[in-house]
């Protein structure tokens, strides 16, 4: 059974100038233990997708239609109180900046034990032992002493380890990680990605990894969804999406990343920029920037359908609707 199913999710922001559609009918699912990458440029809607799943969509943003199902249970219309029992217990969250996701006034130990006891019926002592074990598992040296330290006494990489420990504290089956390594240096980034991968594998937790860094996706994920202007334009196994992309946006994106192997004088560039939410073009949202645009792209919006090795939303792909 699928762990998480997102079906035709639409997120809207009502504004004075009409309703803005930030996420426009996206569907995907995550299997237990799977790592799904969500990649896209700023404004593509990847963080909003994550926020909708963990129920932290900021008003006036709201889920206008569609459904989110976790282990057969629909959670998209849950109240804040109901979501509090899901968050932490069933879905853990890791955010970009570890300094803002920890409370600077409490010791790290207190924050982790609090999370454990909020969700699991364990004694103070047991909670403390668990917290120490979690810190050890995330690779923090001298974990027992570090319990009494405050977040500012940790370095950036160590803080992100604490955040991961906290996200895993109540043994959730799904972790939503929103740009977990963006604020870190490359050498620390490699440590954190490696940790996230092994620790989730050991515990059988699935991960939804949101990032703009294709390199991180490549080495971490099983499958990847590429987002553009609030929609998924391509989704498939990570190897196929990177090496045999079918959507012109995905191939353009791949070619614009400077890599360590080729010696190109110029990088391939996608001209223009992602459209603003109040000016999403008719038809395919990518059509003004697409090098292979033709008449149909400007009229009708393509849906995801099976392509060479992935699923892509593009009229270039032959065949009927899915």
């Amino acid at each position: 059974m699928r762990l998480l199913q997102v079906n035709k999710l639409v997120v809207e922001f009502p504004s004075r100038h009409g309703t803005l559609r930030a996420i426009d009918g996206i569907s995907f699912d995550i299997a237990p233990g799977e790592i799904l990458g969500v990649v896209g440029e700023s404004g593509a809607g990847k963080s909003l997708t994550g926020a909708s799943i963990i129920g932290l969509l900021e008003p006036p943003g709201r889920i206008a239609s569609g459904s989110i199902t976790l282990q057969g249970e629909r959670i998209d219309q849950y109240s804040n109180d109901q979501m509090r029992h899901i968050r932490g217990r069933k879905i853990g969250a890791i955010f970009q900046d570890p300094l803002t996701s920890l409370n600077p006034l409490y010791t790290v130990g207190r924050q982790i034990t609090e999370t454990i006891q909020a969700h699991l019926p364990v004694s103070d002592d047991e909670a403390k032992q668990r917290a120490i074990r979690l810190l050890q598992d995330t690779g923090i040296p001298a974990a027992a002493e570090r319990m009494d330290h405050y977040p500012h006494q940790f370095s950036g990489g160590m803080r992100q380890r604490v955040v991961i420990a906290m996200a895993l504290a109540a043994e959730p089956q799904l972790i939503v990680a929103d740009e977990p390594t963006t604020a870190l240096d490359v050498s620390i980034q490699a440590q954190i990605i490696g940790l996230l991968k092994t620790i989730c594998k050991d515990r059988g937790a699935a991960v939804m990894l949101i990032t703009h860094d294709m390199g991180v996706i490549a080495e971490t994920c099983d499958r990847v969804a590429v987002m553009y202007a609030g929609r998924i334009v391509e989704i498939g196994p990570v190897h196929e999406v990177i090496n045999r992309p079918s959507h012109p946006y995905t191939s353009g994106l791949m070619a614009s990343i400077p890599d360590m192997t080729s010696d190109r004088e110029r990088l391939n560039q996608i001209d223009g920029a992602m459209p603003r939410l109040n000016a999403i073009p008719q038809g395919c949202a990518f059509n003004p920037r697409c090098p292979q645009v033709f008449e149909r792209c400007k009229q009708e919006r393509p849906e995801l359908r099976p392509a060479t090795a992935t699923q892509a939303a593009c009229w270039l792909i032959p065949g009927g609707a899915v």
């Binding site: 400077p258 190109r264 004088e265």
Partner: protein
């Protein structure tokens, strides 16, 4: 040292005083504390080429950038620009002439443009400030030309920065830097705030401009793939010092310093899905209290006793410069 190099930095150092306030020092007996942000960095940049500086946060690369444009005064060392002593020039009545030749592009295009100024005011300011333009019509024409050279249009002149996307703003920054027709551009992480497809646009423009105008760049970045794309020579910095300085192809094909190797290993490889990276051990130490000897020794796989006590100097080795005891 060759005399043709446009920029010659010699033993540049910058120390910041980060001591507690005087009263606390007296009452609590706290000592003075100095932060050696840049600790003796020497390099040359040939005219028309790009030197890239890479390193992790806190290694002093941005401080080097600020030293080169004269935003900071060095604690020690000197800078020769086109054969002239740059710091002497910055203090003399010729300061403006020197500043005209060295310009800077900043990291964050949202913070480096005044939101209340229109684009023509932003780009026109250096022209007026340096007295390069006399009348309004000439100014308009020159600004329009600058905008076109970075792929924007003359119609953008009356607009404000908020009407542009991140990539377009960075182009406005570049146009402003080019206004005084400088010879040397210091670019401090010019694309790290941009999305990859936009980053490609900006990097391409920078390369085109370098070809057309023979510009010299100091390019600062933490992204090794970007550095590999734009640079001719690369300097790797660690805790305020250069640990390796080499030609781009040599450095990437055959990195010598253990830190450089570690950094290269840490880059995610796109077409190598599922490959486990060799994670770098440990973290950058506190620069207030750097390790003795070679400051990289606590993380180094090749560490010997000598590394813990004696600080390696940057020396020539088979055409590159390296500061390491273990490599020979």
């Amino acid at each position: 040292m060759s005399s043709q190099a446009l920029v010659v930095a010699h033993d540049l150092a910058k120390t910041f005083d980060v001591s507690a306030p005087w009263l606390n020092r007296v009452l609590e007996g706290k000592p003075r504390q100095l932060l050696h942000a840049v600790d003796g960095v020497s390099f040359e940049i040939e005219r028309g080429t790009t030197l890239a500086l890479v390193g992790e946060s806190g290694c002093g690369k941005s401080t080097v950038a600020r030293l080169l444009v004269g935003l900071y005064e060095p604690t020690r060392g000197g800078l020769r620009f086109g054969g002239q002593d740059a710091y002497a020039a910055f203090k003399s009545p010729e300061a403006k002439a020197m500043r005209k030749r060295i310009q800077m592009i900043f990291q964050d295009p949202y913070a480096s443009l005044n939101p209340r100024w229109t684009v023509d005011a932003i780009i026109g300011e250096p022209l007026l400030e340096h007295g390069m333009i006399q009348d309004a019509a000439e100014l308009q024409a020159r600004v329009a030309e600058l905008l076109q050279s970075v792929g924007l249009s003359a119609l953008d002149m009356p607009k404000y920065p908020h009407q542009f996307s991140g990539g377009q703003r960075q182009r406005i920054s570049i146009a402003r830097a080019l206004a005084t027709a400088p010879e040397f551009l210091v670019c401090d992480e010019p694309t790290s705030a941009l999305d990859v497809s936009v980053q490609a646009q900006v990097l391409n423009i920078m390369k085109d401009l370098q070809r057309e105008r023979g510009l010299t760049y100091l390019f600062i970045s933490h992204n090794l793939a970007v550095v590999r794309h734009v640079s001719d020579k690369v300097g790797v910095m660690y805790l305020g010092r250069l640990v390796e300085l080499a030609d781009k192809h040599t450095l990437f094909a055959n990195p010598q310093h253990p830190y450089t190797r570690m950094l290269l290993d840490a880059i995610p490889k796109m077409h190598d899905t599922g490959r486990a990276r060799t994670p770098v051990q440990g973290e950058v130490p506190n620069p207030l209290n750097p390790p003795t000897g070679c400051s990289f020794h606590p993380r180094c796989p090749l560490v010997t006793e000598r590394c813990q006590t004696e600080r390696p100097l940057l020396r020539e080795l088979k055409g590159i410069k390296i500061a390491c005891h273990a490599v020979s």
